[in-house]
């Protein structure tokens, strides 16, 4: 009951970023590396190699992944991954392994933050599975249960320009207004079948037991939530694995009634802590949903570290709506926006808070 898990990313340490970029590590970078290596009891020869500038870039990425795994273990999580240290981010990284896309340039997300947005110019095809190496690395380096996060097909489609399928439906005589949904549906389903399903199959083949589909964009267009459900069923049917779907910063009421059509008892790992205690009230909608809930109890957008008591209170509050046997405990989202120091303290308190809640619910 109340197993603890992460959602995905941790930030990338400066020494890892600079080394991979080919920049010289400064005094502070080396100090940070040494401090965390000692704290996480990392093998000395690996660290020394980086300090002396003798490591290959791949070894540096692996070292940061190893340290991320150890950080999550030391915080006490039941289910871990590698903090996504092998990946650059969650959109451009996967699409680099898929044909049919062309990157066009920066598009604003907010303020001065941009992402490199691609257009779909042909039917997408997977060039090679892109998460196997990091899964095997994590598997080799932990005895805990491992969960692999994968960006879902709806989010990949929503964050791209749908040129190829729009062109197709224009040729078929559809009006602008009427082509949007069928063109999107075909795009998402092709991504699900041709890209994500083979990735999942490759991971399962290598022993993956838990896979989390990241779909932060899923409620962006309320009339397309059914497409996401259809795609999820399409890409997971018949595959033997525990599945979870991560959604955040969204209006969860828009998921209904569509999520009742999800096949299998799928866990929904959701963000709540960002909304304050009343934000958990929306869980009343999920009473009839029979899958597990991954309960966001730690806000990833603030350095304020939640106390174990706060975490416990949030879990107990949520358990008024959802039986605790169906609750997993996690941060709202990936912790990549926080320093390792803050991420570690938040996760440690999260684990402690879950323990306290478990005691109280006994």
């Amino acid at each position: 009951m109340l197993l603890t898990q992460e959602i995905g990313s941790l930030s990338k340490p400066n020494w890892r970023v600079k080394y991979v970029r080919g920049e010289k590590l400064g005094k502070e970078d080396l100090k940070e590396l040494r401090r965390w290596a000692e704290f996480l009891e990392i093998e000395e020869d690996l660290v020394k190699k980086v300090e002396e500038g003798k490591a290959e870039k791949k070894e540096v990425v692996e070292l940061s992944a190893l340290m991320a795994i150890r950080l999550l273990e030391k915080a006490g999580l039941d289910i871990v991954f590698d903090g996504e240290q092998f990946r650059t981010e969650m959109y451009e990284y996967p699409l680099r392994y898929v044909s049919g896309f062309r990157f066009l340039g920066p598009v604003r997300s907010f303020d001065n933050k941009y992402y490199n947005r691609a257009e779909c110019v042909d039917k997408p095809r997977l060039l090679s599975p892109y998460h196997v190496e990091e899964f095997l690395f994590t598997r080799r380096n932990t005895k805990r249960r491992v969960k692999v996060p994968i960006t879902g097909p709806y989010t990949l489609a929503e964050w791209s320009y749908n040129k190829y399928y729009v062109e197709k439906y224009r040729k078929l005589g559809y009006s602008w207004k009427n082509l949007r949904k069928p063109a999107k549906r075909e795009f998402v389903l092709d991504l699900a079948k041709e890209v994500i399903r083979p990735n999942i199959a490759a991971l399962i083949d290598k022993g993956a037991e838990i896979i989390q589909i990241d779909e932060p964009a899923v409620t962006t267009k309320p009339d397309e939530v059914d497409i996401f459900v259809e795609a999820f069923n399409e890409m997971t049917s018949g595959l033997n694995c525990k599945f979870s779907i991560h959604i955040c910063y969204s209006d969860y009421s828009l998921l209904f009634p569509h999520i009742y059509e999800l096949k299998g008892k799928v866990q929904l790992a959701l963000e709540f802590a960002n909304r304050g205690i009343k934000g958990y009230d929306i869980l009343s909608l999920f009473k009839e949903y029979d899958g597990e809930i991954g309960l966001g109890v730690v806000d990833v957008h603030t350095d304020d570290v939640e106390s174990p008591d706060t975490v416990k209170e949030r879990i107990l509050y949520a358990s008024k709506f959802i039986p605790p046997e169906r609750i997993y405990v996690n941060p709202d989202c990936g912790l990549r926006t926080r320093s390792w120091e803050i991420a570690y303290r938040k996760l440690k308190n999260m684990v402690k808070g879950a323990e306290m809640a478990r005691e109280e619910l006994k």
Binding site: P106, R108, Y161
Partner: protein, 305 residues
Amino acid sequence: MFATLVGIHPRTEELVRASREFDRGRISREKYEVEVENCINRIIEEQKKLGFRQITDGMIKWDDIFRPFSKVLNGVTAESLTRFFDNNTFYRKIEIREKIEYRGGFLSYMSRGSEKAIVPGLYTFADLSHNEYYKDKLDLMWDYFEALKAISLELRENGISFLQLNEPSIVYRYKRREISKDEIKLIASCFRELRKILSTSIHLYFGDCSKAVNFLAEEDVEPIGIDMMETEPESIDVSAKLILGVVDSRNTFMEDPNQIADMIRGIHGEIVGISPNCDLEFLPYEQARRKMEILKEVLEVLKCS
């Protein structure tokens, strides 16, 4: 018939790079501001070259359509990041804690060479803000209108002739029948007041505009900009002046100017202009520029026919 821009323009790749460098402390503010000016000049030049009217500066100094108002209005602040309709783009929600009053400074968000200011319309401003002060939404809209009136007078004194009110929320809410008759009356009467100061238009987008066009036209609100990507051409039949948003700012599919011209010829209404359906900032810079060229080509096709 003319072509015009209707919203925030994408920044050039050079400016995006410069803003990243500036954020990381790698270049000075002066250097960053030079890049801002270069970007604005380029956008203005491109509009002139293509024969666009109601020239804008691309709103390059605006982080989102509401942000300047958090600086030029008393009683409000810009707070949490919030999704902008159904886009992967976010704005900071305006929090209203006191009475809204214009305190000055709007001109600092306009650049030399701009002929048109584009601002959130009354309804959209009220709809997308978090209001903790006003008991009645109509009072909020009225005070925002008073601020817009003061801004319009300042703009007129400084040689700016056009004002465009962006009203995506009218379309979005009307779809759900959440907009009241009183709200429609207020939007229309304020529009007519602003029109006395500047040549004013209203722009509707992110939804089927056919019904909203009708009720606005009945209230003597014109010209009305329409998102033609979401509105069936045959559903429009009004006598009001129209500006048609005929290229899609949210897709890289490049429209055929001949097909657009055919569509325009079939519409019942007095079409005075064409535009993108919404802000071109949803596209990278080069694709936005190509969409502008398509608008010019549409005008050429229509002139020849």
